[in-house]
Symmetry: none
Subunit: 411 residues, 2 copies
Amino acid sequence: MQAEIISIGDEILIGMTIDSNAAWIGNSLTHLGINVYQNISISDTKDHILKAVDEAFSRSELIIVTGGLGPTSDDITKQTLSDYFDTSLVKNKSVYENIENFLATRGLEMNDNNVRQADVPEDCKVLPNALGTAPGMWFEKEGKVLISMPGVPYEMKYIMQEHALPLISNFFNRPAIKYRLVMTFGTFEAKLAEILEDFEKELPENVSLAYLPTSGIIKLRLTGRGDDEDLVDRILQEQVDKLYGIIPDLIYGLDGVSLQGVLGSILKEKNLTLGIAESCTGGSLSSMITEIPGCSDYFKGSVIAYDNDIKMELLGVRGEDLEKHGAVSREVALQMARGVRKKLETDFGLSTTGIAGPGGGTEDKPVGTVWIAVSSKEGDFAVKHNYAFKRMNNIRRASLAAMSLLRQKLV
Amino acid sequence: MQAEIISIGDEILIGMTIDSNAAWIGNSLTHLGINVYQNISISDTKDHILKAVDEAFSRSELIIVTGGLGPTSDDITKQTLSDYFDTSLVKNKSVYENIENFLATRGLEMNDNNVRQADVPEDCKVLPNALGTAPGMWFEKEGKVLISMPGVPYEMKYIMQEHALPLISNFFNRPAIKYRLVMTFGTFEAKLAEILEDFEKELPENVSLAYLPTSGIIKLRLTGRGDDEDLVDRILQEQVDKLYGIIPDLIYGLDGVSLQGVLGSILKEKNLTLGIAESCTGGSLSSMITEIPGCSDYFKGSVIAYDNDIKMELLGVRGEDLEKHGAVSREVALQMARGVRKKLETDFGLSTTGIAGPGGGTEDKPVGTVWIAVSSKEGDFAVKHNYAFKRMNNIRRASLAAMSLLRQKLV
């Protein structure tokens, strides 16, 4: 069984938008054990849409189409699909009400364009969109399926996760392919591959290992195949346990959890509070921590001390140490962590100070030099990292490293 | 004249790699006035490559192929193209020397795989690759061109910029297609389309308008076509000016700039400083501001006051107002903005307080309710927004809205 992905929109062809949807969908289908034959990006024209859909239907059982469902006149996907499936657009009451509610909660009224969005092909199943005005649509023809969704990534992902993926899983019956993700942080891919060389050689025949690095975090994906789903699950769990034995410090969690999520769970469980002092990470560390719903149970707040005066006045960093050692130093990182812990009256203080770049580097302290510190009643601890990436990546690595350091101190 | 892009690699289909190459190439071709008909991602199989290349050749004058040129055995693009163009692989001395040098400067010696990379189809023009071992290749057939390059983005970009784009520009002689992007924030696509209905109707025949929404920011793309490049530029500029007349508050910049970049430029130019007090945005607003290199010229720091005690102690928010109006209120937003401005001794204070969700909503203040305030010597100002998205999107919108409000107060 195979699937194809069609992305509609001139903005993709002229390179104004990178088509991240196709990768996300390809990944989701792969997880369901469905082979993606190809993905194609085409223009917003009726002829091109009809041609791509017709060719895909001739080859594959599942077609996923994104884009061209907005309220404006250049969005012609819905009418074109309605023609292709030989049906017609009719006003859909529940879609109308969803659009009305969606706009009402934002203090907006429906205009003609929105009203037109409530017209849906008569023969399709509506996949409700709680995050926008264009619904998803599920068409069936000769035992094959076409799903059409808006191209806005979070709307597409919502419709896929809430509606389309469960329906696909049900409609098509596939042999078991199971995945486990082992989440690691703290080393480089080549180094990790060296450590895990023997582990990989000893894997059972029906299990494979892949490295999925994404700026700092390396996911180890174990794929197991077989007819007995429970047996595959058990075999994968054995391999996960084995990995924990080999790289206990590097593994921070399983199956797609985030470092901030794991850290939050530990803090919550231990009933501990956290305050943060950021310099080079400029809010990125705090924003990761506050991605987690309910983080107010353990996260009290932060001081982003970009300016040295603020390091001194709000965090109590000593001027003489700033002078002597510079803002990017063990001494200043430790004083920031201690200072924020005392100021915000938290159990733990976590700090970052470094040179994110592109400017500000020196021979002694090149761009990417970062000091990270943790402070608690039990004592203070600082560590230095040397990244040599571009600004945004240095900031991200430093934020991850700070969370990783705190996690290791907590477990 | 039209072009097509073919990306080869299973890693794209299963979603491990987002195909950013296609967007970059699409953008480069568009700037040369070449229309991209479609781009397609396919698997590393000979049949699929031959089918895609043959179909593209039947339609389009220029085919750009990336991927499948690495040293490992699953990289079969070169042999397949050699077969397609009915030629054979021969050892290329200059390619061999380039690989040898490339490896030598990294302390490596050539292995068998590298030696094979020096075999190149006899009838193609080599496009040297200074950043890797796989060369680019330029094939011609019946007045049409196919270019094959490695899929590693920086190698592909090097070969395109140094060799392929100048050759393409020379080989094909094209009328100009020009684009302008007008960046807007502050309303929804349907609403914007309503406001711009007359503008769109009155557009000159050779100019078209498209809406490109991405969670809050809507880019308006104007496309102009014609033989005289300067004339097209002038016509587009007239339309840009007209848009500024219709939606002056919504437009924050042109041609892909970010709100944080624009805001930073204004603050720097006016020699003003900024302090931030965040509650619901939890560091996201500050992290956007600090994305900009050199932001320390105007950004002093932030207080992330997730906890009400910190709102009181560090920002001077009155306990009685927290009690009476709640943390998500005009009063508290104003006191936070004023408080951080005084505490950090900056010209401007900017604050956010709201309910990011998923929990914490009430009937009066549902999830997505956000108050934003600006404070300066000239006075204080607060505004309320009702978003009703998921947590991360509410946080993003609130951060963008805060920057947008400050921008409007500054210009």
